[in-house]
């Protein structure tokens, strides 16, 4: 019997010929990434007398949740991290290049078949490039930084076979919201996902990243796509290593295989307060919005901004609504500027924030007051995630966010947009 992508990575990382789902291994970690949480790791390691990391060259550090610093306390945290980077001799300090996950991919730190652990739950994003990647907390990260390894259970794998013909108005976000609603946010709990099928093959890397990113919202440990020619082409100019295609063995064993036909899919919206509370946009009813947010590691890439710009071109954001746009990285910001999207957003009355996590985690900026409603292209609508516990957070695709910003209420993007990013 062959191995799944998860089994292949964990077999190699634990120095074994083969491993099987359910088995516990001690895995050598290829890349460790930490954002602002690194400050806490640094303090912990120093307290334990660790003055040398296991392998500083495997470590990537970035500031994204609170850049630029909103408080003196955060500024102190950033200062401490810069000192720690210096002290530990970490060369891969990405500064303030944008959201960690976007910057990791753009910087060529994500390669197919690698095991990557990071202090952020949306680390599953790298599965879009065929990497086994998962979020961990600061204690485990401190351990990994010092030792280079961590215990892991080899997860069973479920497959989502994405089939059918994409209809206008649909983005990959709609597919993952649909899966969360239809199959539940626990469908992949303690498991790995492999997204397969014609639709998955045709998808851009950006679209794949949205699905892998929200793999964690389905409970997943890893959320893979096969690394194909598209992946290799993207990586070639970003790394000095030679990335190769990576997929499961043909006779790998899966726990379950689900077929998802997207032919009749409508744009989807998650309603408060869970990403699994999903409805087609037509069933939302009349729902005014105070804020619309376009950005995050889920949907702040150039492809997402391009769709929003197409929709907003020559139109105005509703006076009762504020539209915040946070490009996922400095590179996305630059590309969006060159493509004219930034001008389109500003002409429409949107506000552009610095690249980074922006309002999504609810600490830096763009927070919601009590009883305010936001339609957001992000990944979680937990109660109080983006501000007041009495605020209401709806999740949708970048197209749905842009359309809703124009009308001031949650709106079917097909009113303004008859294309799809999936064809």
């Amino acid at each position: 019997m062959g191995m799944t992508m998860a089994e292949k990575v964990l077999a190699r990382a634990s120095g074994q010929k083969r491993v099987k789902a359910g088995q516990y291994v001690t895995a050598s970690v290829d890349r460790m990434m930490a954002h602002e949480a690194f400050a806490s790791c640094f303090i912990t390691l120093k307290r334990l007398g660790v003055n040398k990391l296991y392998d500083p060259d495997r470590v990537v550090i970035i500031l994204d949740h609170y850049f630029p610093a909103p408080t003196v306390r955060m500024a102190q945290g950033h200062k401490l991290i810069r000192q720690a980077v210096e002290e530990f001799g970490i060369k891969n300090f990405l500064g303030h290049a944008g959201i960690c996950h976007q910057a990791m991919v753009e910087g060529g730190h994500v390669l197919p078949g690698r095991l990557i652990l990071a202090t952020d739950s949306h680390t599953t994003t790298y599965g879009a490039l065929g990497a086994a990647s998962a979020g961990i907390g600061v204690t485990e990260m401190s351990y990994v930084l010092a030792t280079g390894e961590l215990w892991m259970q080899v997860p069973p794998t479920i497959r989502f076979d994405l089939t059918g013909k994409p209809v206008p108005g649909i983005m990959s976000k709609d597919i993952v919201l649909y899966i969360a609603g239809e199959f539940s946010t626990e469908i992949a709990q303690y498991r790995a996902i492999e997204f397969t099928g014609e639709v998955a093959k045709r998808m851009s890397l950006a679209s794949r990243m949205t699905l892998s990113n929200m793999g964690v919202e389905l409970g997943a440990k890893f959320a893979f796509f096969e690394a194909d020619e598209k992946t290799i082409d993207y990586l070639k100019e970003r790394t000095t290593e030679t990335p190769s295609r990576f997929g499961p063995d043909p006779d790998a064993e899966y726990e379950t295989e689900h077929s998802v036909d997207i032919t009749a899919l409508e744009p989807q919206v998650a309603v408060p307060h869970n990403p699994g509370n999903v409805k087609p946009v037509s069933e939302i009813g009349d729902q005014p919005v105070d804020q619309a947010f376009l950005g995050s590691c889920t949907n702040g890439r150039l492809e997402d901004l391009a769709v929003a710009a197409q929709i907003l071109k020559g139109r105005r954001v509703n006076p009762g609504t504020r539209l915040l746009v946070t490009p996922a990285s400095q590179k996305v910001m630059l590309d969006a500027t060159r493509a004219g999207y930034v001008e389109t957003f500003l002409e429409a009355g949107a506000h552009i924030t610095p690249a980074g996590c922006g309002p999504c985690p609810g600490g830096h900026m763009g927070l919601l007051a009590s009883d305010e409603v936001c339609i957001s292209s992000t990944n979680r609508n937990f109660r109080g995630r983006m501000g007041s516990p009495e605020s209401q957070l709806f999740l949708g695709s970048p197209a749905t966010v842009a359309a809703s910003a124009i009308t001031g209420r949650i709106t079917d993007p097909r009113q303004f947009w008859s294309e799809t990013t999936l064809s």
């Binding site: 485990e140 351990y143 030792t147 985690p361 609810g362 600490g363 937990f382």
Partner: protein, 168 residues
């Protein structure tokens, strides 16, 4: 660490996420402020929870973020253990790493009402409802997880490993 835990039960539902256990904008607050909003979906919880109390929860307890503050807040509040049907995996790992007992136990949500007395054996994952005289079995920790727990957390395991490396 005491492997036999006894306490009064607080009962929560399904999909209770990390963000309500540790709201992001509370993370930089001093403990006295931060503790007030722990599990704010039930405001009386943070007010009235007593050291040694046990949380019984439904499915997907701790879904969401990798913030270790979620289990850490509960531990610092003095909660003795959580017993849930299923867990968000990162929360679960974090709870092991900081040596805060969390047991997977299908059927626990049915078997307990708020205020019941629980006796929990961490070694065997045997869960007893002393109020209703019901006994159910959870999933025992693996020996590796139990080792981390018994040593008081992953950092103590690391400390031991580092001193062995220096000594050896």
């Amino acid at each position: 660490m005491d492997m036999l835990i006894k306490g009064r039960v607080w009962k929560f539902g399904h999909n209770v996420d990390t963000d309500v256990m540790a709201p992001w904008n509370s993370l930089t607050e001093p403990w006295e402020e931060r503790r007030k909003v722990i599990l704010h979906i039930r405001p009386e919880f943070a007010q009235e929870a007593k050291p040694g109390d046990i949380i019984v929860a439904g499915r997907n307890w701790g879904c969401g973020s990798s913030r270790e503050n979620a289990p850490e807040n509960l531990k610092n509040l003095g909660i003795g253990a959580v017993v849930a049907e299923t867990y968000g995996r990162i929360y679960f790992r974090n709870s092991v790493a900081i040596a805060f007992p969390n047991i997977v136990c299908p059927g626990v949500h049915e078997a307990f009402e708020e205020g019941d007395e629980m006796e929990l054996d961490l070694k065997t994952a045997r869960v007893r409802n002393l109020t209703r005289d019901i006994e159910i079995s959870g999933q025992p920790y693996t020996s590796e997880m139990l080792n981390i727990l018994e040593k008081g957390g992953l950092l103590n395991v690391l400390k031991e490993r580092l001193s062995n490396e220096v000594g050896g």
